[in-house]
Amino acid sequence: VSATPAEVRRWSEEVAADPGSLSFLPLAGAYRAQGRVEAALRLCLRGLERHPTHVEAHHLLGLLYRDTGELVKAFDEWDIALALAPEHVAARREIGLAAAELGEWVAALRYLERAAEQTPDDAEVGQALARARERAGGSAPAAAPPAAVPADAPADASAPGDGGEPGAVPHAEAQRAFEALTEERGIAGALLLDDQGFLLAGRMEAGGADRGAEVAAVLSGARLEAVRALRHLKLGAWQGILVETPDAVVCLSPAGADALVAVAARREVPTGWVLRVAGRAREAAGRLLGGGGTA
């Protein structure tokens, strides 16, 4: 139901009189309905400065970003809404639809299946879910849970993306470079991943088996969440993640714009040494990715 002119005037007066008024939300919604997206965006951002945990405001801001074509920012806002309110149906729906639009089919499937359970009559969700079910079989995006990645997924340089495009990394050379890193004392694995979480080269051994594919799928999603957390806290561009367990240290860091490297070591290896090996992995990635070509 669209707002009446009297309502818009009242909300506008309330916001003008009290910048902390929650009337910013219906007013921003009314502006959006009128096609005044920029005004709605400004209002929503100002409102969130006063009410940073307002779930509906994050959801609306996501819609406004989508209206302006900024899908990544939109995704961030819906993700925040969902983090604040895990049962938020609309945010889950929008993330699912956005993932489908980006061709991230496994992630789309995960969100849309839940959304369809919550709103079975939503035709748009139903159609997108059908597409995601058709397409999800061959892809393993960053957000996929480990169970979605076959344990025996090959460390193939050709990332199995939607179009099956060949990877730019010469596989044999990359595999050699990253395997050489794992021969260092105490290093349990070194991986080169693309920005979608596909394993391009390397291995990561634990319990006598190569766990590279499973780790790659989950870790690359961690990168996205780290980027969002840093952005939200105004801590700048992400430079790396370090995770420690009683048995291991794992370092994930960016290698250029489109790739990541992950290095794991046994716990007795000093963290500084792990970071040095990660630096060498980044250098190797830079050489390999910068060189391009095919295997």
Partner: protein, 117 residues
């Protein structure tokens, strides 16, 4: 002043720390916080808890054990989440400047864990 608040106060006395929180790892809700003005606590708590859960899943997938410490490096600051067994389901989250003494933060995190145990 709660016991948590007192422990967070000790962490915050380290030069370069912008604030710290005790956060429930499973739902990202703040149990106690002591943050500088302008640091968006609830949203940050939710995001860090989600990131920590993912790191934990990743470590379990690799059979590396349970994640106990997470550090995210940003160009302008650092984010720490510590989950020693003494804290149960709680995370100690610390937000700091880029130049903070990481060793001091870790030491104080260990002291907090010991005090909780």
């Amino acid at each position: 002043v709660s016991a948590y608040r007192e422990l967070l106060g000790r962490v915050n006395r380290i030069n370069g720390v912008r604030g710290s929180m005790m956060v429930a790892a499973e739902d990202g809700l703040i149990v106690e916080e002591d943050l500088m003005v302008g640091v968006p606590g609830p949203a940050a708590a939710a995001l860090v808890a989600s990131l920590f859960r993912r790191a934990r899943r990743s470590m379990q997938a690799a059979e590396f054990g349970s994640a106990a410490y997470l550090q995210v490096d940003g160009e302008d600051g650092l984010l720490f989440a510590a989950a020693p067994p003494e804290l149960g389901d709680l995370l100690l989250v610390v937000i700091a400047e880029r130049w903070v003494n990481v060793g001091m933060v870790r030491l104080e995190a260990a002291r907090v864990a010991a005090a909780m145990g």
